[in-house]
Symmetry: C2
Subunit: 403 residues, 2 copies
């Protein structure tokens, strides 16, 4: 059975160009880039090229602002713990952190740890469209007391974009010493990001390779020159002392290639994906009664659709889709196995009768019209079938029995 992959916010296939770029570094150029002999210079040079590719793609002015890590989770841990440990030395009076209710667990859990460590964390809420309560954000900013803001760029579950440009500017206008971090794992390569232009007020930016067709196991952290941030992995001179550990040369090369490719094709890819998504959502709304598309009114990533179907269970839909070879997701892969309803959809006040029947489809530049058509052929029927046996569905009137 052909797989139809609509779970690109969980992970992506590795681009053939990326696989090809990595191969020499599993083969003849396996050397340690720190070694002095000529043979190893190829490895060191490949890392330098990749660092330049990432810096250029993100509009960083200095290649040393890019540190390669093993994943976005490491980048987030590094950025938040690293910055706060350094600030604890130089500005110990700053003990407040601002984040949102809808962050990825890699920021959520770090912030919960900060609370246990004695920090005050302000959790900013969202409205029913998934938009951030900007007024609450401004009220939480406290000159001289706020140490760090950590707010994601695009939400992994809904694709809703937060106005990082505006939030980071407001932060620096309030107090230029407050550090601004953004988890841009879902937006790098899918949104225009320039750290010298639209994101010029961002100090720290995390992302990973495996959302943009590099392998799982590589990420990066942008740290603006001068940002106080202690290394997280210590014990070696690598990455100019910013991150210890022998460099993962093949994946670093792969990340450089993947970022360059994504940014180069961003305009064309994303408008094509946006068109597919618009058609997909219009058809879902037309063919399936009693559904809502979460974040529909908000500015979103072009490739993410998060839909809540009243009166049925997301897991049942996924299982049925699976029998047709369709890969989708209910919530984040990083919280899978949990029976809790999505913290993102709860924050958006999705009604109880709908939140359980939530499912995320996420597309990429490899998604085809045929993929969309095939999901549209199958998915409405699955919803309809599941509702037949649901005690919460009124089949005669085609509406939920309980609002």
């Amino acid at each position: 059975m052909n797989v139809i992959y609509a779970d690109n916010n969980a992970t992506t296939c590795v681009a053939p160009e990326v696989v090809a770029a990595m191969q020499p570094f599993f083969g003849e150029c396996y050397f340690n880039p720190s070694s002095m002999y000529a043979a190893a210079k190829g490895a060191a040079k490949a890392i330098a090229t990749a660092r330049q590719q990432v810096a250029t793609a993100l509009g960083a002015t200095d290649v040393q602002e890019i540190t390669f890590t093993s994943c976005a989770t490491e980048s987030n841990n590094h950025a938040i713990f690293g910055a706060l440990r350094m600030l604890a030395m130089i500005s110990p009076e700053r003990r407040e952190v601002i984040t949102t209710m809808v962050e990825h667990p890699a920021v959520l859990e770090v912030c919960r740890q900060l609370e246990r460590d004695g920090y005050t964390v302000h959790w900013i809420d969202v409205d029913s469209d998934g938009n951030l309560d900007t007024r609450a954000f401004v009220r939480a900013l406290s000159p001289g007391r706020t140490a760090l803001v950590s707010i994601m760029h695009a939400n992994n579950e809904t694709g809703v974009l937060f106005p990082i440009e505006q939030l980071s500017r407001l932060t620096k206008e309030t107090d230029p010493t407050i550090l601004f971090h953004t988890d841009a794992t879902q937006s790098v390569g899918k949104q225009w990001i320039n750290l010298s232009e639209n994101l010029a007020y961002v100090d720290l930016l995390s992302f990973s390779g495996h959302k943009i067709h590099a392998p799982k196991g590589i990420g990066a952290l942008y740290m603006r020159r001068g940002t106080p941030c202690r290394p997280f992995l210590i014990g070696g001179h690598q990455e100019s002392g910013r991150r210890a550990g022998t460099e993962n040369v093949p994946y670093i090369v792969g990340l450089g290639a993947a970022v360059e490719l994504a940014v180069r094709t961003l305009g064309a890819d994303e408008s094509r994906v946006a068109q597919l998504r618009a058609q997909f959502e219009a058809e879902l709304l037309r063919r399936i009664p009693a559904i809502q598309i979460n974040g529909y009114q908000a500015t979103r990533l072009p490739g993410t659709t998060n839909v809540s179907c009243w009166s049925i269970e997301g897991e049942s839909m996924l299982m049925e889709l699976n029998t047709h070879g369709i890969c989708a997701s209910s919530g984040s892969a990083c919280t899978s196995g949990s029976l809790e309803p999505s913290h993102v959809l709860r924050a958006m006040k999705v009604p109880l009768g709908a939140i359980g029947g939530s499912i995320r489809f996420s597309f990429s530049r490899y998604t085809t019209q045929n993929d969309i058509d095939r999901i549209l052929d199958i998915f409405p029927q699955i919803v309809s079938n599941l509702r037949v046996s649901s005690p919460f569905w009124n089949a005669a009137e085609q509406k939920p029995t309980v609002e």
Copy 2:
């Protein structure tokens, strides 16, 4: 020019079997192992197989004792910081750590940070053969006060093996609550390690893949069941909550294959490598005046030769070897770029006139008789040539001008 690679303690080539094992996970099986659909089960199953391979190879009784990390540096940071952060909650009176003067920077630097954090660190010395001062170790053990011991298994620069079996038993006999960690990065796959037999008193063991023909960017941490140790990377359910971050499926598969391969062929490979090394060292001693092989009298890894040549500079030897395509190293790749003489050789009291002329050759199962012969053809001549222009060399008497 053919490369003769004698720097396997820095990194190793990726075994063809390992490259082959990884390929499907860059290709058709790129899925997120946390995903629910059938297509992703292959990724989850591949991780389970790799975990079993590693557990079996190390004699771990429970696969959950194996956590995959991004490198040995992460494993060391995780083990030491993770254990001490947990102990700080449950046994806050334990504020002492014991380590050695000759650890890899990934343990050295972590222990220096512990000192800054208020821990008392006992730095155990070695003798001129590189053997640990076991009496000083025993004196440093303090029931009720020692939190953690971290002592490497095999030294990366000299190959000298520490008696981890005996040291861990002594530790537990003194106080079973003291945690025993070993950095086994250089010994896994090269020495017999069984965590239920010879290393049954070890609680935490770190290693990486790239010393045993897996790629750079993957490691593992063994944590004995019940060992108090807080996660280091937080923010996801992966690795049963022990290490957050989307799993690097290809490299995890590669690590499983590499460990299995290394352990299966350990006896034959290591005795062949030991024979090559014995011949190599005998010839060096015969052909080159005024040299010493560091750790010569100690029990060592079979594939490591660390030689100090009086009156010349290690960097000059490396450059000359490089012109002949021979890859070797002066000290650890993780401290390259530093002009400091090796902390390991300093601890071994290698005389000043010899320490600068130190070089490490390290072999692997891919090293051939021809490689050894070729180095022996070239290296003695290089030493001889460099000494001609050294003011510290008495050419007439073939000895240093200064002792």
